[in-house]
């Protein structure tokens, strides 16, 4: 399984880390100037190509990315609220599909191979089993939306070459997109082929909304788009918590989100789903399933604490102590058994052979257990070769 580090860094840092060849290509785009200028605290040595473009930019002023369509053509544009909830819903749907939830509606245009690419590192599948969330995957789900989007976009860009798309084209388009105005309509026919292919994928993420008029079709950037190139720390508005955990291990989540219910299902038993409340119980069984999937008690506890409903958030501790203690205890309970690969030796021809063998095993420090009556030995697995040689010799 490839090791994937979850990096949720700044867009510009990533751009800066690109190889020169790619950067050159990128500098042809004017929007890079705009983006670089916006970042004041760091200075960069100017690439010649960039420099000339920069000069152009400074002389002639900024260029608007694309003129938004006149209102007459685009009827029934969504309100900003609608747009935001659309983006949220779309993103959630994507995530649900990503974690292979049974709840997910299969509506996305991503190919299953594409989805598998995104799942890499987040899900693991053992043979003949449904893929399960890994520890990273769980962490991913607990991240904030912008950080999640970032992670996915990264994967999207880095794998673009496999789809025959130049990453630089993609990056400059994404940059460009972030300068579009939130909620305005932009004509689809202003897009290049690569861009119009990408815009459909982005619509699946909820970054843009696509609409079709009588003759024309257009896309509308959502908040996710405008947040794309902005440093993450600016945009991370504190999300309000929604979970109440009681001393009797019952959990009440004020949420309408299917995704929340999927996350909670990872470590609790969901019992009731109400229009704006999810009722569940943290049980030994539900936690054991979570532990088996590599989710740790600390992750669960910090999720419960960070998402505590405002009603209990000011209370100390936010999650009852007996519950957090018990979650930890259940976890340590599972770690009491230590596995040592080993070999069992039996059917010794005589007591003497048995005893010399067990003495030998003890000497090399590999004896785990012996039963002298039944003449059986258990020795560490890594010493099997030595044992075999020894036994052959003593014959």
């Amino acid at each position: 399984m490839p090791q994937v580090r979850i990096v949720a860094k700044n867009f510009m840092d990533m751009v800066a880390a690109l190889p020169t060849m790619r950067l050159d290509k990128l500098y042809e785009s004017i929007f890079i100037c705009e983006a670089v200028l916006r970042k004041k605290e760091t200075s960069y040595k100017m690439n010649p190509k960039f420099q000339s473009n920069m000069r152009k930019y400074l002389l002639h002023g900024g260029v608007l990315p694309r003129v938004s369509m006149p209102l007459g053509v685009t009827v029934r544009l969504p309100t900003l609220e609608d747009l935001e909830s659309y983006a949220q819903k779309q993103w959630e749907r994507f995530l649900l599909q990503l974690i292979n939830s049974a709840q997910a509606e299969r509506l996305l245009n991503f190919s299953s191979s594409m989805i598998r690419v995104f799942q890499r590192g987040l899900l693991s599948s053992r043979e003949n089993e449904d893929p399960r969330l890994t520890e990273n995957g769980f962490q991913f789900l607990l991240m904030e939306t912008n950080a999640q989007l970032w992670y996915i976009i990264r994967e999207y860009i880095t794998t673009s070459e496999d789809r025959g798309v130049d990453p630089a084209d993609l990056i400059s388009f994404l940059l460009e997109l972030s300068f579009h105005s939130l909620g305005e309509a932009y004509n689809m026919n202003s897009l290049t082929d690569v861009q119009s292919k990408a815009i459909e994928d982005l619509a699946d993420f909820g970054v843009v909304k696509l609409q079709q008029g009588r003759k024309e079709s257009w896309f509308i950037p959502t908040k996710l788009a405008t947040n794309l190139s902005v440093s993450l720390s600016d945009s991370s508005s504190r999300k309000q918590g929604f979970v109440v955990v009681e001393t009797n291990f019952r959990m009440y989540a004020y949420s309408t989100s299917k995704l929340h219910s999927e996350i909670l299902r990872l470590f609790s038993r969901i019992e009731y789903q109400l229009p704006n409340l999810i009722v569940g119980a943290i049980t030994k069984e539900s936690l054991y399933t979570a532990f088996e999937n590599g989710i740790t008690s600390d992750q669960i506890i910090s999720f419960l604490q960070q998402n505590a409903h405002p009603r209990v958030a000011e209370r100390l501790p936010t999650v009852p102590e007996n519950v957090t203690d018990q979650i930890r205890l259940w976890e340590t309970d599972r770690n009491r058994v230590e596995m040592t690969p080993s070999h069992l030796y039996e059917d010794f021809p005589s007591k003497d052979v048995f005893e010399t063998a067990s003495d030998f095993a003890r000497e090399v420090g590999g004896l785990l257990w012996e039963d002298s009556q039944k003449m059986r030995l258990i020795v560490r697995g890594e010493l099997h070769q030595q044992m075999r040689d020894f036994l052959r010799r003593s014959k």
Partner: protein, 765 residues
């Protein structure tokens, strides 16, 4: 559709723990009834219920509850409407769990029966519920309420001037009843309306609005007052059979019983009042208002936690009715306790109250008074002494204004039937602390005594400072290697319990806790052990006094006196006799080293021993120096059956909002030979003792009832009946509440970790 109350409860399995085919018939009830049940409805089923389709109202955030079509209701306790909603829900639904932020309730046919019987009408229930609900009420729930209340509460049996009347605001219902032969024959037609079907008509007594403030109390009051009441009279000798005909298994119009005591001129009044210092607390007041809501006395059950002052409620009820009162308790000690309570709280003269037990056959003088006795004394069917026979005759012949029944949850149904058929009473009031609801007996209680009139919320009482704020802890004691090896052996199957109770680590933890509380806090400690072998071994080794079934009365008194008054005796060991008949108000620490399997009730009752609020109220409040002044430790050996039972046992308390801390580091790792059983050879010696003891010696203690008539006649050995085998015969339980009229100090206490007892700070630190 049926409510949750009826949903697939696991059927009780009969457990025959004492393998003998002969049984002591009147053995103690032994908690066997909740031995093998699952911990609750919700554990049995993991399937989730999807009610996301319910339509949210626009102003849902202002409303406090969600109602699901399967009868489950969720209540936010932080809603501004919480208090009203709580009062309403407790009247119409069964509480499932009541922790801090969110309560859960179930609508069941029984709970709705209780609701209509305290005067709530079907439409009112639906309307108020709809007002409180965040969503539109599911249709199924409305139908369920209609279905369950269609017949209940429509018919009342009223005793007026010693004539029995069947009353109803619905003449068509009365007509339906009269089609039944038994009822028709029992009817006494008065002269004026002999001719036809006409009923006498009168105005209903107005409901004193007990739900004031509940959104629009106006509605409630209006409905109750406008109704006309139709009634007909029945023959007093036929009343029992008429009642039978009305039960759900026949005509299904169960009758509510009300007693119009103010207009009862036939039975003489008993001149007694509450003393001025007897100030019922708000929740006691509320439970009384449910009982006397319309100026008459309703029959039913009031549920208050141990230590919350049930006896004051009982005495107050008797003082309001002011007629002869028969008070039934579970054993002789508790009879004394009740007599004392009557004298403490009311102005009753000493010659107006008498106790009737095997030791104490006080004669009844005068024409009114209070008699305190045990269920067994009344229900006993065998031969009695001459004295007892006379007194029983007296009890049978008298018409009682109030039949006051203590600890109704432990008395078997057949006993109730017998007692109720023997005694003639106008009104029946049952009291209990722990109505464990999976118990099928609730059906019997509902129709034999009456519906549940009120149930207090434990956490609210703790917050109000009315009962002690107990810190509960489960101490995990790992089995030592040697004990665990024996525990796992098949041939030791009968000694499993002895092995996990005698686990040296448990012993050391117990010793450590006793030292800590005796020396550092100056507490008084009770150690409970059901296992007699363990009890003796622990008590002997630690040199502490112990009391068990065979301890003589004098010996008990001596030990308890010493515990109460001597600074040298701070710990006593009790077998399960301590669960019921021993009142020890001084104790504030309980250490439980062994217990009866998965009994939730035993756990709650044992906790009840230390629930009585102690010390000054201000110390108990948030930030006070004694925020936690009572401690309940349950010691369990890890990886044994005990762990499983322990989880089950705690369920009742957890549902009341208590939480159990798990402590894994007792005794502290650095403790050495200053605690017993430090050396391996000592441990092995102990192990040998356990293994060499006979299987009988290490089993559970079997108790015989020792304080009344039955025991004096010597327990007869008979072939065990089904009820005896299942533990459903015999007597049991009691606990005392001498609510000392603690002043209410209402203030909510946030938990301040710095006020925590040092043992609890340590964990994970």
């Amino acid at each position: 559709m049926t409510g949750d109350g009826d949903r697939g409860r696991p059927k009780k399995k009969l457990k025959n723990s004492a393998k003998a085919s002969h049984f002591v018939e009147y053995k103690e009830l032994d908690y066997a009834e909740d031995f093998d049940e699952e911990t609750g409805d919700r554990d049995g089923e993991a399937k989730k219920r999807d009610f996301t389709k319910l339509e949210l109202k626009l102003d849902h955030s202002n409303r406090p509850l969600w109602a699901c079509s399967d009868g489950r209701i969720f209540l936010e306790t932080f809603s501004p409407l919480y208090k009203q909603a709580y009062d309403f829900l407790i009247a119409i639904a069964e509480p499932v769990c009541r922790p801090e932020s969110m309560h859960e309730y179930n609508l069941t046919p029984h709970s709705l029966y209780a609701a209509v019987s305290v005067g709530l009408e079907t439409e009112t229930i639906v309307n108020v519920l709809n007002k409180l609900s965040k969503t539109k009420l599911p249709k199924e729930m409305i139908d369920f309420i209609h279905g369950s209340t269609a017949n209940y509460g429509k018919v009342k049996l009223v005793l007026k001037k010693n004539r029995y009347f069947i009353e109803s605001p619905f003449p068509e219902v009365l007509k339906k009843l009269l089609k039944d032969d038994v009822i028709n024959k029992a009817r006494i037609s008065s002269e004026e309306n002999r001719a036809g079907e006409a009923f006498s008509i009168s105005k209903a007594p107005g409901e004193i609005n007990t739900h004031s403030g509940l959104l629009d109390g106006v509605d409630l009051a209006a409905v109750a007052e406008e109704k006309e009441i139709h009634s007909f009279e029945v023959d007093p000798s036929q009343v029992e059979s008429v009642k039978q005909r009305c039960l759900p298994n026949a005509l299904n119009y169960p009758m509510l019983e009300e007693y119009d005591f103010r207009n009862d001129t036939v039975n003489p009044d008993l001149n007694m009042e509450l003393k001025p210092q007897a100030q019922p607390r708000p929740y006691q007041e509320k439970s009384l208002s449910k009982m006397f809501g319309n100026g008459r006395a309703r029959s039913g059950i009031i549920v208050l936690p141990c230590g919350a002052g049930k006896s004051l409620v009982g005495v107050s009820a008797a003082c309001r009715i002011k007629k002869s009162c028969l008070c039934l308790a579970t054993n002789a000690v508790s009879v004394d306790q009740w007599a004392f309570q009557f004298k403490l709280w009311s102005t009753i003269r000493d010659d107006q109250i008498c106790r009737f037990t095997s030791d104490n056959k006080e004669k009844f003088r005068g024409n009114t008074g209070v008699v305190v006795t045990t269920y067994n004394m009344v229900a006993f069917g065998g031969k009695r002494s001459e004295d007892s026979e006379k007194i029983i005759e007296e009890i049978r012949n008298r018409e009682w204004g109030l039949l006051l029944m203590d600890e109704v949850h432990v008395v078997p149904a057949h006993m109730f039937r017998k007692v109720i058929s023997i005694t003639k009473s106008h009104c029946k009031l049952g009291l209990t602390a722990t109505l464990v609801r999976e118990d099928e007996r609730i059906t019997d209680l509902n129709f034999l005594i009456g519906p549940k009139l009120y149930e207090a919320n434990w956490l609210d009482l703790v917050k109000g400072g009315f009962i002690a704020n107990v810190q509960c802890a489960e101490v995990w004691c790992p089995m030592t290697k040697e004990f665990f090896a024996e525990y796992l052996k098949k041939e030791n199957s009968k000694k499993k319990q002895a092995l996990y109770v005698m686990n040296p680590n448990k012993f050391r933890a117990c010793e450590f806790l006793i030292r800590f509380h005796e020396q550092q806090r100056g507490d008084k400690i009770i150690v409970f052990a059901d296992n007699l072998f363990a009890l003796t071994a622990y008590a002997m080794r630690l040199r502490k006094p112990m009391i068990y079934g065979a301890t003589s009365h004098q010996e008990r008194t001596r030990i308890l006196e010493a515990f109460k008054h001597s600074p040298d005796v701070n710990t006593i060991f009790l077998s399960k006799v301590g669960d019921n008949s021993i009142d020890i108000p001084e104790a504030n620490v309980i250490i439980q080293i062994s217990s009866h399997a998965g009994s939730r009730r035993q756990e709650a009752q044992r906790l009840g021993r230390i629930l009585r609020a102690k010390g000054r109220p201000q110390d108990r409040m948030a930030g006070g120096k004694e925020e936690y002044n009572a401690f309940f430790y349950s010691l369990v050996s890890t990886d044994t059956q005990e762990m499983y039972y322990s989880t089950k046992r705690q369920q009742f308390l957890i549902d009341q909002g208590y939480s159990f801390k798990v402590i894994t580091s007792l005794p502290p790792l650095d403790s050495g030979p200053e605690l017993s059983l430090y050396h391996l050879n000592e441990q092995l010696d102990l192990l040998n003792k356990v293994l060499s003891a006979g299987d009988d010696a290490v089993g559970l203690e079997q108790l015989e009832e020792d304080a009344d008539d039955i025991a004096l006649l010597k327990a007869r050995r008979t072939v065990g009946s089904m009820s005896a085998l299942s533990g459903a015969s015999g007597m049991v339980y009691m606990e005392y509440n001498t609510g000392h009229g603690k002043k209410k100090v209402a203030k909510i206490k946030p938990k301040d970790p710095s006020k925590r007892h040092s043992l609890f700070k340590k964990r994970f630190g």
